[in-house]
């Protein structure tokens, strides 16, 4: 049953990264659009994401619940030592969510739209950065686990682990991934009469992903971040990253041929491969502190708890997934009919 739970944990993580990632990315693309294209992006994002974006963001709640129920000690380290970045993620999610609704449901479209728009764009950028920084902090090897709070400064315990060069670079890399996903998604959403502005943006986003990914690896290598040196020796991880890189060619081809579904699938698979590469590099030791490694699997809840959790997830999945599929399908089909 543990594998069922792990599957759902991984599944929600991947779906969150892909779906919410594209959603964050849409805001980032809007932020980096010229004045006149911003409006177009806003309209497109609303049409594409409107019906589904709330559902997209529930995956993170599912992840949190699975972590605290199934892996309480692991979760405990995260919430105690990464309190601040997690709070900042929350702040971002909150402001972004309300800004999205406010700008589309306000009864009057007036000056206040400017405020909602900027709130939406900026929080769309900072939230994935903090998400990436949190992952960076987990594996940065800078977390200090201690019961003795007098010999350490607040900074070294609660800030240093996530506010350092490596974690910040991981944050930027993740934001770039989100933007990449969004541009590929948006390419297929522009109607035929207007020039497709997202083609160029997709190229830029791809370039930024490659550069920031390279920076993460080289910075980690130079600074001897244990996770990165390990990552670079792990042939599976390297293989997955290489495969992801090779997929750029079929992606470019399907974009050129306007195979929307294929290009989205390729982009999604690319991100999933990178993510899996990062996770298996050190699995199950997903938190690396200054002195030790904390395994996800070492401190699981008891078998009964895991069984009940697994059964709940299977039942829940059987209810949610068809509904979600139907939701995505319905609104895609409607779009084609229009």
């Amino acid at each position: 049953m543990l594998y069922v739970v792990l599957f759902f944990l991984m599944f929600s993580l991947l779906l969150y990264v892909i779906l919410a990632g594209a959603d964050f990315g849409a805001g980032i693309v809007e932020l980096f659009s010229s004045q006149k294209n911003r409006h177009l992006t806003k309209k497109t994002v609303y049409r594409v994401m409107g019906p589904v974006w709330e559902a997209n963001h529930i995956w993170i709640i599912l992840m949190i619940v699975i972590l605290w129920v199934g892996f309480p000690n692991f979760y405990n380290v995260l919430v105690v030592y990464l309190h601040i970045p997690l709070t900042l993620i929350l702040l971002g999610i909150t402001l972004r969510g309300v800004a999205f609704v406010f700008r589309h449901y306000d009864a009057y479209q007036d000056q206040s739209q400017i405020l909602y728009d900027w709130m939406f764009r900026i929080s769309s950028l900072i939230t994935p950065i903090f998400l990436g920084m949190t992952f960076g902090a987990m594996v940065s090897g800078q977390i200090v686990i201690t019961e003795d709070y007098t010999n350490f400064t607040f900074y070294s315990l609660f800030i240093q682990p996530w506010l350092n060069g490596f974690s910040v670079l991981v944050g930027l890399f993740f934001a770039a991934l989100c933007a990449f996903l969004a541009t590929i998604l948006l390419i297929g959403e522009v109607d035929e009469n207007t020039p497709n502005i997202y083609l160029k943006k997709a190229k830029i986003a791809t370039l930024v992903v490659v550069i920031s990914g390279f920076l993460v690896l080289s910075f980690g290598f130079v600074q001897e971040v244990y996770f990165i040196t390990n990552f670079m020796q792990n042939s599976y991880s390297l293989g997955l990253v290489a495969l992801s890189a090779v997929l750029i060619f079929p992606l470019l081809y399907s974009i050129k041929k306007e195979f929307q579904i294929a290009s989205r699938t390729f982009a999604g698979i690319q991100v999933v491969l990178v993510l899996i590469a990062a996770i298996i590099a050190h699995f199950p030791n997903l938190i690396i502190t200054t002195t030790s490694e904390i395994s996800l699997l070492e401190t699981t809840a008891t078998d009964e708890v895991i069984s009940v959790l697994g059964i709940s997830l299977i039942i829940g999945g059987a209810i949610i997934l068809p509904g979600l599929f139907h939701l995505f399908k319905s609104f895609n089909m409607i779009k084609i009919l229009e």
Binding site: G50, P51, V52, E54, A55, I58, I60, I61, L62, I64, V65, W68, V69, G70, P72, N73, Y75, N76, L78, V79, V80, H83, L86, T87, I89, L90, L91, I93, T94, L95, G97, V98, F100, F102, Y105, D106, A107, Y108, Y149, F154, L157, F158, A301, T302, E304, V305, V308, L309, S312, L313, I315, G316, I319, I320, G323, L324, L327, S330, F331, I334
Partner: protein, 432 residues
């Protein structure tokens, strides 16, 4: 202020906000589907207009409820890591099921909001029902997790360890039913009176009277029925608390001396130092009867509990009085509404509409007061008789700044949502 107080204040503050958003997001879909059904049956365009305007309200409140709920799911761990480390596996079941219900709600809402003229009419209406039902289901599940803190069960506590965990038994803990019933009725009462009050004000101001009267009638019917049922649920809760958490009951009633045939105090000023209640109205033997169904039953007083194991009496007592007082008032006004259905001429009287306008915020005040009773009344325990709140708090110092930040964000959110709602109503009134 120390870390514990700051963390508690932050938790209280975020919960107080979340409860309002979540209750409206949970109950308003029912008003919406009733109006929608009336539109489908009568094809009276007023009902369509009303449905569409309520659905915007639902969307705004659903999202603010959802994001503040996401925040809370993180905060449980961020503020109370020791609690979650042990309780997480035990109360995971209601939370994971709540996740499912919430997911279903989000999916159904996606269909409902964006499905106008796109999906079959009947199916569209049913997705609205699913929104409401899954909203109530999530509410009940979350309350069940809270009830577990009051009535911990589904594990054996041996030498400081939680062994033999049974998540199903924890979900159906002894307090879940009374608490969930009380909360669900309270949500319907509070939202019903609040929404009805807003529409009553519009009638009072003579704006779009026909529409607002229809809206008022739908909302208040839900609110009034719930308000009339609530005392029965309250009685169940009181008897349950008397058994399981006698210290909480004693604090609710500011009952210091253990005695047989204990009187019920109404109102009064509590002096926690001298352990006295002055200026109260005393009903002989009523407390014994309400708590145990026997006029001569013995009710244990606060003085006979270890003094470090009782909550802050004045807060709990005042909050309880507020809740019961308002509850009674709303019950009477609920009856008044049903009488007014027979006496149609009341509906032409401005005072009728003014009365319901004034009632608008009261349901929520009572509901929040009720939560203050149950949460403050549980102190000093975070898990009743097992773990103290002070042992669960995060070791990270400086929680006060976190509290300030949340307070600022949530205060802004409230102002923004209120402003948005007033614009919705303005736009509704200006439309032809």
């Amino acid at each position: 202020m120390d870390n514990l107080d700051a963390a508690r204040l932050q938790m209280a503050f975020t919960l107080i906000f979340h409860i309002v958003f979540a209750c409206i997001g949970m109950v308003m879909p029912f008003f919406m589907v009733v109006a929608h059904k009336k539109w489908l049956n009568t094809r009276n365009p007023i009902y369509l207009k009303l449905t569409k305007s309520w659905q915007k309200g639902v969307a705004i409140f659903f999202v603010t409820g959802a994001v503040s709920g996401t925040a809370l799911s993180f905060e449980l761990g961020l503020l109370w890591p020791e609690f979650m480390k042990h309780a997480g596996p035990i109360i995971g079941m209601p939370f994971s099921l709540e996740g499912v219900a919430f997911f279903v709600e989000a999916i159904a809402l996606g269909f409902y909001l964006y499905g106008w003229d796109k999906i079959p009419e009947k199916f569209h209406w049913i997705t609205g029902i699913i929104v409401g039902v899954s909203g109530v289901a999530s509410g009940i599940l979350v309350v069940s997790a809270n009830a577990w803190m009051n009535a911990p069960s589904g594990f054996d506590y041996i030498n400081g360890e939680f062994l033999n965990i049974d998540p199903v038994q924890a979900l159906f803990n002894p307090a879940w039913f009374t608490q969930a019933l009380h909360m669900t009725l309270a949500a319907f009462t509070a939202t019903g009176f609040a929404v009805a009050g807003i529409h009553a004000y519009q009638v009072y101001k003579n704006r779009q009277v026909e529409l607002h009267k229809k809206a008022f009638k739908i909302a208040i019917t839900f609110g009034a029925i719930a308000a009339i049922l609530q005392p029965f649920s309250g009685d169940l809760s009181a008897k349950d608390i008397a058994q399981r958490q006698p210290a909480k009951l004693a604090a609710m009633e500011a009952h210091y001396e253990t005695q047989k045939g204990a009187p019920l105090y109404i109102g009064g000023i509590v002096d926690a130092e001298k352990k006295e209640v002055s200026y109260k109205l005393e009903i002989p033997k009523a407390l014994s009867f309400l708590a145990f169904g026997d006029f001569n039953a013995e009710v244990k007083g606060l003085n006979d509990f270890p003094q470090d194991e009782i909550p802050k009496v004045p807060i709990v007592h005042y909050a309880f009085q507020t809740m019961v007082g308002i509850g009674t008032l709303l019950l009477l006004c609920g009856i008044l509404f049903f009488v007014s259905l027979k006496k149609k001429k009341w509906w032409n009287n401005k005072k009728y509409w003014l009365l319901f306008t004034v009632l608008a915020p009261l349901g929520f005040i009572a509901l929040e007061a009720g939560w203050i009773v149950t949460e403050t009344g549980r102190q000093p325990w975070i898990i009743h008789n097992i773990m103290k709140t002070e042992d669960a708090v995060t070791p990270m110092p400086g929680m006060i700044y976190s509290f300030y930040m949340y307070m600022a964000v949530y205060a802004l959110l409230t102002i923004a949502v209120t402003w948005l709602m007033s614009r919705q109503i303005k736009s509704l009134n200006n439309s032809k």
